[in-house]
Structure formats: C-alpha cells, structure tokens
Symmetry: C2
DNA sequence: TTGTACGCGTTATCAC
DNA sequence: GTGATAACGCGTACAA
C-alpha cells in the first residue's frame, strides 16, 4: 500500500508537499501540484486516515449507541443521525446494547479507545457509568430519548409526560373510567414519565379512579403478557395505554388471541408511531415522537460541542421536543354513543 | 490524556511492559502486573486504538453500506450484521447511499482511507467502481442482496428468481390469467430476477399471456404510481406482484385510494416480508427473504477472508439463500370460487 | 522476566 | 513556494 513518501519520491518533492496537495492546505505551485496529482493517480495512493487521526487527534467519527436496533423508533433516529453525520463529512458507528448495561459499558469503553469524536447514547439504565467515562476522557456525549436525573450531559428527548397526558385526556374525553397503563421497567425515566403523565390526565378528571399501572419491559412479549393480566383484572379496563410501540404491538396480538375487539371491546392507545413507510394501514392512536428530528438535533448538539462553539465548560443543554397526538381507529368512538346505523 | 509512557513511568517500568499487561501478550510477573494495573487505574489510562491500528494495520472495524436505511429489510440485515460483528469484538460503521452511485463511491473512498478491515456492500447500481477500488487496496468486500454480473467479489443474496417463481405459481393456481409485475430499475439484477422468475411461472402455465412488467424504483411513491398505471391497462389485471416491500406498500396505498379492495377486486403479492415486530396484523402474501441470516452470513464470509483462512487468492463464493413463501390474505381465494356464506 | 531501538504514516513547526 | 525535523502512541524484533 503506497504511502505519502512514495508519492513524494515519484513526484520529486517532499512528503509535506504531497500532504499540502491532498489536503489543500498551504501554498503549492500549480506545476508541482500537477506532478503530485499525477504521481498519486499513477501509484494509486490512498491517504491513511489512521495516521492522520494519530496526529490530528480527531477521527471524524461519531457513535450511536441504542438499546434495540430492531425497534423502528431507534432506526428512525439512526436515520436522522446518519443524514446529519454524513452532511458534515463524518462517519457513524452503530452499536446495539439489547437493553443491557454491561453491553453498554463494553461498547463505550471500546468507543473511547477508538477515540471517536463524540457519542450519542440511549442509556439502557441510568447511564451513569458511561457518562462518567466520557467526561473523564473529555469526549462529548449526548443522551438521547431518556431524561437524566442529574445534569451530566446534553440531552435530546421528546416530552413523554405531555404526550402521555394528551393520550389520557383523549380517553377520558371519550368516556373511559377504568383504564390501565402498560409501561417499561422501574427507574427508566421514560417509562415513569409516561405513566405519570397519563395518570395526571386521569386525575384531572373528577371522580375517576387512578389507572392501574403494569410494569414490564419495552418488548412485544411483555406487552402481550401485561395485556392479559390487565384484562383479567376487576373491574376490567375499557382502555389500555401502551407506553411504547413494541408494547402496543404485543397488546394488539394478545387482544387478537383473546378475541377481544379493538376498539369495540377495548380502546388502545400507544406511544411511538410506526414509520408510515412500514405500515400498510395505520390503525393505532398514538403520541408520535419526532424520531428523525431527534437524531438530527442530537448530532447538532454534539457538533456544537466539537467545534468548541460551546466548550466543555458550557452548561449542559436539554432539548425537549413535543410529541404529536395522532388519533386513529384504535381509540374508538365515545363510549355510550349510539351505534352507527348501517 | 495519559499515554502508555506515563503509566510506565508511574509504575516504574517500561512502556512495553505496560503494553504486555494491557494486551495480555508476553510474560509479566504478578508483582509488576499489579503495579501496572494500579497505575492504570490511578491515572485513568485508556489505550489508544488509533495508534495501535497504525502499527497493527488492523482497525477491527467493518462497514456496511446499504442503499436505504429506512427500509426494514436493510435494517434487519444490519441487525444481523451488528450481532455477528459484535460477537467477534469488532465495531460496525453504517452508511446509507440513498440508491445513489455517487454517494456509494464517496463512502467507499472514505472507508478505504479509514482502513476498515472489510466492507459489506449493497450496490446502488452495478457496484463496479467500488469493487475495483476495494480490490486495488486489498480490502475484502462482500456484496449483499445483489447478484453480480462478473465474479469480482463474494456474494450473499436470496434466491430472487425462485421466490418470484413461487409467487407466480401461486397466483396462477388461484386462477389468475392477467397479471402485472411492478419492479425496480432496469439493470438492477434483483429487479430483473424477480420479474423473470415471475414471468417464468406464468409461462409455465398453458395459454396465459405473459404479465406486463412495469419498471420504477424500489420506493413507495413508485409503487403507488405503477399500481395506478397497471390498473388502468386493458385488460385490467386481476393480480399484482410487487417486487419489494416498499413497492407493495405503495400498491396498497394506491388501491386504497382508488377504492379497489384487496384481495376481493385485485390480489396482491410482494417480495420481502416486514419484520413481525412491526406489523400488527400481517396481511400481505410474500416471498420472505432471510434478512437477518443474510447479514450474519455476510460477516462470516468477510471474517473468513480476514483470518486468511481463505486468502485473497481463493475463488469468490456466492451464497444463495432460499426465500420462504408466506401466504396471507392479500393473495385471496381461488378465482371463481363460491362466495363464502355468511 | 524486562528493556531498547525503531518504525507505522502523517502533519505542525520552523527554516530556507 | 518548498523542505527538514520531530512528534503523535503504540508494538515488533531483538537484546539483556
């Protein structure tokens, strides 16, 4: 593999001159430039970015660490990230932790060894270890999709609480009085916020019993399981709130198996929309998060840190994006309304 | 940022000894090891993988270049790739070319500069330029999901022709006699193979007119457009074959808009399944590709090249995986069958 | 078991 | 406008 020195020899110049031509840094006479360019073409020189990084201390690479690459919500974020990263001439490393803290730690360690310029992280749990590591090394970190207890990093997330509140208010306005919340693990802020927002909406209505809250994982299996438990409770809920898209899918599967009709027998609302590209016939009423935009904004925040515009001394920012209420069939008509005449 | 030398000084040893401790290469007395490990912990040393790569000429990084990150088929491949890559302690760079040759070239150039250990490529077009570049540099390349004209690289793909043939045979057996194929661009082997396979199935039946073939892009918009054109043809087809998942979704949207019922008025079959995770109620009859497995097999092929087991001199391999026919509602019942009594 | 010398490919600094 | 020198952080080859 030819090096810059070999190009230099062939062109009869020094290595640094070749470097100047390649990077367009510093003055080079047009004659020399031509000779160098020809030499490059002749021997097929490809600059070595590894060596360059060793000197420059920049890799022009950032990493995105998500909890679940199969979830379209995260792949949509990834898409937004990729677009933004590519625009600024960098490359993107993607890691999937499978919601496991240990994997998250392993990945962050590897990424820091590789000296990536920055990390976008969807923490599996609290993310404390990762945040600490990054800070020690001075590598910018943006936490995506999860609220942070302390202020330890920039954050980009959607307003889970407000979105859940809207869904709750919708169901209340449709006349539901017994509802259940199916959400994710304890201590995951996203899971808590959504439960809290929904409960608040119910509490705001007079004389409604607070919804029962089921805790599981953000998975289809867990959604299915929680739905079955919720429906066997007394009194049986007339509406279910699934705190993310996978839980919602699990719920729909469970109801289908139980021959419970949606929305006729039970209304269902969820968090996270499915990308329109993937859904043939949208059905589910949801609070949609702006996933693509979240990806882009995360990169923007990271790049701002990198360009030093906001040095490491600057206070951390939290960008909270609004969700959008999308009402579809699964939430049903007002309870007690007359049956439509056929 | 502390270096290996600083660790060495603090521990009162030489740099190479620290290296031996960190990489567990070469003998180190347990006393010295303890001293070194303590020094590492105290000053928070994080090995520099960039410098290591410069020496070792390996980056332990591979890249996946796809045409469309929003397509669940490719994200499923990516998921399989990620799992396999992670298992072998490497990291994964992901690039999305948006089906543009120029982007593909740009990405490949950047990746080769970064000295990635290998590249998995879903070519936007023929992929000739990328293949040539990689070969010149001696970087292993595996082409994914596309057949190659010449033998210039390892290939992992599904059997598009056989899958399309099965779909065609199904429709023929259901009694359809006028059908249309909605496929991707000319010169993309995948698009051609699927059209050819389907046509062959029709030709195998006696006295059927060959299906009309529409050419567009592998996008929802294109699918919608082609569906409208196909349905306004005379004689009007009773069945449509969409050559990938996005085209199929576009078709379903178009038919919905035109108030054409599926499968009552027109039967629809497609290529590529949607991951079960994303679909609430599966509806479409498809030839499903083993996307996840394709991702894994691609990595396996790449790693085989890397480990030298199959040196660069070895002949290129082509792995062709079978598709699976999944019959659902969209393909309908046999034509002319009595209406089901309610 | 431990250490010395050198090179990996590039670029910043300073000199001409 | 061009070049010599050194340094980035690490690991191989060899010596002690």
């Amino acid at each position: 593999m030819p090096t810059i020195v070999e190009v230099a020899n062939r062109a009869g110049v020094s290595a640094i001159t070749v470097s100047r031509v390649v990077n367009d840094s510093g003055p080079v006479s047009s004659q020399v430039r031509a000779r160098v360019e020809q030499a490059i073409a002749e021997i097929g020189y490809v600059p070595n970015a590894v060596a360059r990084s060793l000197r420059s201390k920049r890799t022009d690479t950032i990493a995105l660490v998500v909890t679940d690459m199969t979830n379209p919500f995260f792949t949509t974020i990834a898409h937004g990230v990729e677009a933004a990263v590519s625009d600024s001439g960098m490359m993107l490393i993607i890691c999937s932790t499978d919601e496991r803290d240990a994997e998250e730690e392993r990945y962050v360690r590897m990424l820091l060894q590789r000296r990536v310029d920055g990390i976008l992280l969807v923490p599996a749990g609290g993310g404390a270890a990762a945040i600490k590591r990054c800070r020690e090394q001075g590598t910018p970190l943006v936490v995506v999709d999860r609220r942070l207890r302390g202020r330890g990093a920039d954050v980009v997330r959607a307003d889970s609480k407000a979105g859940a509140f809207e869904l709750g208010r919708l169901l209340v306005s449709l006349g539901h009085r017994t509802m259940a919340v199916l959400t994710g693990p304890i201590a995951v802020p996203t899971a808590d916020d959504r439960a809290a927002g929904f409960r608040q909406a119910v509490a705001a209505a007079a004389r409604l019993r607070p919804p029962r809250v089921y805790r599981g994982a953000f998975t289809i299996e867990s959604g299915r399981d929680m739905a079955k438990r919720a429906l066997s409770a007394t009194p049986r809920p007339t509406a279910l709130f699934a705190a993310n898209n996978f839980i919602a899918i699990g719920v729909l599967h469970a109801l289908d198996e139980m021959k419970v009709r949606v929305p006729e027998d039970v209304a269902v609302v969820g968090f996270d929309d499915l990308p329109p590209a993937m859904v043939t016939f949208p059905f589910l009423t949801v609070a949609a998060q702006p996933a693509y935009e979240m990806g882009q904004r995360s990169v923007a925040l990271l790049l701002a840190r990198l360009s030093g515009g906001r040095g490491p001394g600057q206070p951390y920012q939290e960008v909270v994006l609004p969700t959008q209420l999308v009402v579809r069939r699964s939430s049903g008509d007002p309870l007690g309304a007359p049956e439509p005449s056929i």
